[in-house]
């Protein structure tokens, strides 16, 4: 019954999406506003309909209806209710429904905005969002149905289908396989929704961009309308990446937070394109330039959103052969190709009308530096794209798979990220239009001199890594320049309004949220850079097998093995937990309990580190082996991760800055009201 309602809701949503796209396009072509309005209503209705489908899945998951194949795959009797709910995005079928639900929610939110000034864009925004939604719904309805039931055929084979195959009998296993243990971490529960929110939000600026191309609007209205959408998309994608990093650090047990895994990179690529876009739209708004480039960037971002979802959903990452076996792989591939080609065709059609009206006067003007920033972002993107697809290319042409691992990525993108840090340090001091080397140099040299203090101190205190010294200098330069900008603005306010420094800073940020929100983001990036350099260059590790009472030393730390306990839990785990006494510089600093959880149903171990965490460093201990009988000896892998917590701290500041930049500002008053006010003032009213 519930599965029937859910499936019907999906089918109705699919029909609504198709109707919405068709009616909007037809209404716009034939100038029939009533059809466009009907399409808008269809768009608004799609969200409640998909909500019904999503709620139906959740009801089945919570009720433990193991006769439904998806429920049997991602839940089990031992799972608590909250994990059953989050299992909605724990598997292929459910996550596609979740993606569509978010897409419909964002489309509805767009449909509810005031369209007075952009009535001409509305039908084409509906077309783009509804085609995207229809595509995802088609994948669910025709290939990845979450409501399919388990059947036993007359031949005794197990199959899944929504409707009863001839002669087949319904089957309901007493228990399910349960959610992958790796996905039960709080970070992983929130991480996918954040990534999906980021992915889906980027569809909105893309839809507006395509609408502007279709109707031939060459102004920057689409950018102004979607600025907040873009920031929200960027915020969620950034948050998703940070949470993903934290999850990897806590759960995957390799001592790091980022492994240059294709799935990670798939989420990072749209973020990179989106970051380039966020910078370059400022040039279009200020100078009327880079119109083509901004269109290209948003097309690229949208395509990368689809590509990211394709990579993680098609099975292509495991092998190109899995691509052919996966039903949705070719569909995704075709949709990405068609949408990319159509978008480029629209752009080429309007190429002449999008010509900028300004020119670059100086190589060190703000717009030039933003262009350089975009160049570096796109270079990083190109490198990551190559790294992700090369194993597939190799397998396709030579039949041999290769691994493109962290060493390759770090060697190539490291210098490019350093270039970005340098630009972050220099660009805030340059002006739009006609900055010269001399004026920029005059502003910069004292700040550069100040920033050199940090690497100088590090050098004197014994740091000899050239890469680390360079990285710390660049990060310090960004921090110094950014803080100087805050100080300069706040000082001006204090002189003018007599405000205290904290009040001046708050009001300064409030007056120009975008600029100062951006600076807060830069400060977040600085802290993250400190953390990344710390762990990447100065991480140390050791491994050893200890008898009870024996010790292992890493740097200033000594760990003494006290013993190991093993016990079963009610949720189907066997936990092996070691106890270690930790000493730093000879002084006891507490105990750590690294453990290994073995999940019986999934036959899967999970290594949970014991971590002593301070702002300065983490001592990260993994239990990697033990004597099964007696537990007299155990093997530990220990990492010393300097400054790693700066990454999380910087991430939090990064999110805060994005919130400041995205916080709604009052819309400029309409011309009519301003004119009326001016007349009233002139009349001395």
């Amino acid at each position: 019954m519930i599965e029937g309602i859910g499936y019907a809701a999906l089918v109705i949503s699919f029909v609504l999406a198709l109707y919405g796209a068709g009616a909007a396009a037809f209404g716009a072509k034939r100038s029939r506003p009533e059809l466009v309005e009907s399409a808008r209503r269809a768009m608004l209705l799609s969200w409640p309909m998909i909500s019904v489908a999503a709620l139906a899945i959740i009801a089945l998951l919570v009720a433990g209806r193991y006769d439904i194949a998806y429920v049997a795959k991602v839940t089990s009797n031992a799972m608590p209710p909250y994990l059953r709910v989050t299992a909605l995005w724990g598997g292929q079928e459910g996550s596609l429904v979740f993606w569509s639900w978010l897409m419909a929610a964002f489309a509805s939110a767009v449909g509810l905005r005031q369209w007075d000034r952009d009535r001409d864009l509305l039908p084409w925004v509906i077309v783009v969002t509804m085609i995207t939604l229809a595509f995802f719904l088609s994948l669910i309805i025709f290939f990845e149905n979450p409501f399919s039931r388990i059947w036993i055929t007359p031949e005794g084979a197990q199959t899944t289908a929504l409707f009863q195959p001839e002669g087949a009998l319904a089957a309901a296993p007493p228990d399910g396989q349960g959610l992958n243990p790796l996905l039960r971490h709080p970070g992983m529960i929130i991480h996918p929704p954040m990534l999906y929110l980021g992915f889906v939000s980027f569809v909105i600026p893309y839809a507006f961009a395509m609408a502007a191309l279709v109707v031939g609007r060459s102004d920057d209205r689409w950018i102004r309308v979607t600025r907040r959408w873009t920031l929200v998309a960027w915020l969620f994608l950034g948050l998703g990446l940070i949470l993903g990093g934290r999850w990897a650090y806590d759960v995957l047990g390799w001592g790091g937070y980022w492994g240059w895994d294709p799935v990670e990179i798939a989420a990072f690529m749209p973020w990179l394109a989106g970051t380039a876009f966020l910078h370059s739209v400022m040039v279009q708004e200020k100078k009327g330039m880079l119109k083509h480039w901004n269109m290209l960037l948003i097309i690229l971002t949208y395509s990368l959103v689809l590509f990211g979802t394709f990579l993680t959903r098609s099975g292509v990452l495991s092998s190109v052969h899995a691509f052919a076996q996966s039903a949705i792989g070719p569909m995704f591939f075709a949709f990405i190709g068609v949408s990319f080609i159509v978008s480029l065709w629209l752009l080429l059609k309007r190429w002449g009308e999008l010509r900028g009206v300004n020119q670059i006067n100086s190589m060190v003007s703000r717009e030039s530096l933003f262009l350089l920033n975009n160049f570096l972002f796109i270079m990083i993107l190109a490198v990551l794209f190559l790294g992700v697809i090369f194993p597939l290319v190799s397998e396709l042409f030579t039949g041999q798979t290769v691994t493109v691992g962290p060493a390759w990525y770090e060697r190539i993108v490291g210098p490019l990220f350093a270039g970005l840090l340098l630009l972050m340090g220099v660009a805030p001091l340059s002006a739009y239009g006609s900055s010269s080397w001399r004026t920029l140099g005059r502003q910069l040299w004292q700040l550069v001199a100040l920033s050199l203090v940090v690497p100088a101190i590090l050098l004197i205190t014994g740091m000899r890594s050239a890469a680390a010294l360079l990285g710390y200098w660049l990060a310090t330069l960004v921090a110094v320049v950014t803080l100087y900008e805050f100080w300069r603005g706040a000082s001006a306010r204090r002189r003018r309004h007599g405000e205290s420094l904290p009040v001046a800073l708050v009001k300064l940020a409030g007056r120009n949220r975008r600029r100062y929100g951006g600076f807060v983001i830069h400060l977040g990036v600085v802290l993250m850079a400190f953390g990344i350099i710390g762990i990447e260059i100065f991480q140390t590790e050791t491994q050893g097998t200890l008898e009870r009472g024996e010790q292992l030393t890493l740097g200033r730390y000594v760990m003494v093995y006290e013993g190991l306990t093993r016990f079963n839990t009610s949720d189907g785990r066997e936990i092996s937990r070691a106890e270690l006494s930790i000493f730093k510089d000879g002084r006891s600093v507490g105990k750590l309990f690294p453990r290994s959880d073995f999940y019986f149903v999934q036959n899967q171990p999970m290594t949970i580190p014991g971590v002593r965490s301070t702002l300065e460093e983490d001592l990260y201990v993994l239990l990697v082996g033990w004597e099964p009988i007696g537990q007299d000896s155990a093997t530990f892998k220990v990492f010393h991760n300097p400054l790693v917590n700066f990454i999380w701290l910087g991430g939090a500041i990064f999110i805060l800055g994005t919130l400041v930049a995205a916080w709604p500002e009052r819309e400029p008053e309409p011309v009519r009201r301003r004119t009326a006010q001016a007349q009233a003032l002139a009349a001395g009213d």
């Binding site: 060459s218 041999q400 798979t401 691994t403 493109v404 892998k637």
Partner: protein
């Protein structure tokens, strides 16, 4: 005399090498020595998880193999080649610079140079006078005219 010195030298080298091997066999490699080699290897099953941190039993067996090979005096290169011979190039952390793999080493600098040249061209183009461009921007002008007309009418 010269030949005798060469023979003595060769003999001494062989003896020293033999002593080295015997020493290597006597000493059991530490976990850190094993992990230093394993860090650059990937097993074909556990994708994208370096061998030194992979918790599966299969990867543990690989590490035991590395330990035995180190104990026998094998070098890191020999051990890597052993795994490549057994399982193919995918066990290495980076593609070996042969055949099609050259693409991953050549394309990034080539794309960078091409991108830089395009960027330089764009900069040069933008620094030219824009007279013809402004003339061709008629749709914008028409749009602006319409906006100004609307403001005049409403004002």
């Amino acid at each position: 005399m010269g030949r005798m010195m060469v023979c003595t030298g060769v003999l001494a080298s062989l003896l020293l090498a033999g002593v080295g091997t015997v020493q290597a066999q006597d000493e059991q490699p530490t976990d850190d020595q094993v992990n230093a080699v394993a860090k650059g290897l990937y097993c074909p099953v556990c994708e994208n998880v370096p061998l030194d941190v992979c918790p599966t039993p299969a990867c543990k067996q690989w590490r035991d193999t590395i330990r035995d090979q180190l104990a026998q005096g094998w070098t890191q290169g020999q051990i890597e080649q052993f795994f490549v011979d057994q399982y193919g190039d995918r066990v290495l952390g980076t593609p070996p610079a042969t055949g099609l793999n050259w693409l991953v080493y050549l394309l990034p600098p080539l794309v960078f140079v091409a991108g830089a040249m395009i960027l330089a061209g764009v900069f040069r183009g933008w620094r030219k006078p824009l007279v013809s461009t402004i003339e061709s921007a008629s749709p914008d002008d028409r749009y602006l005219e319409r906006v100004e007309e609307e403001i005049r009418r409403r004002g």
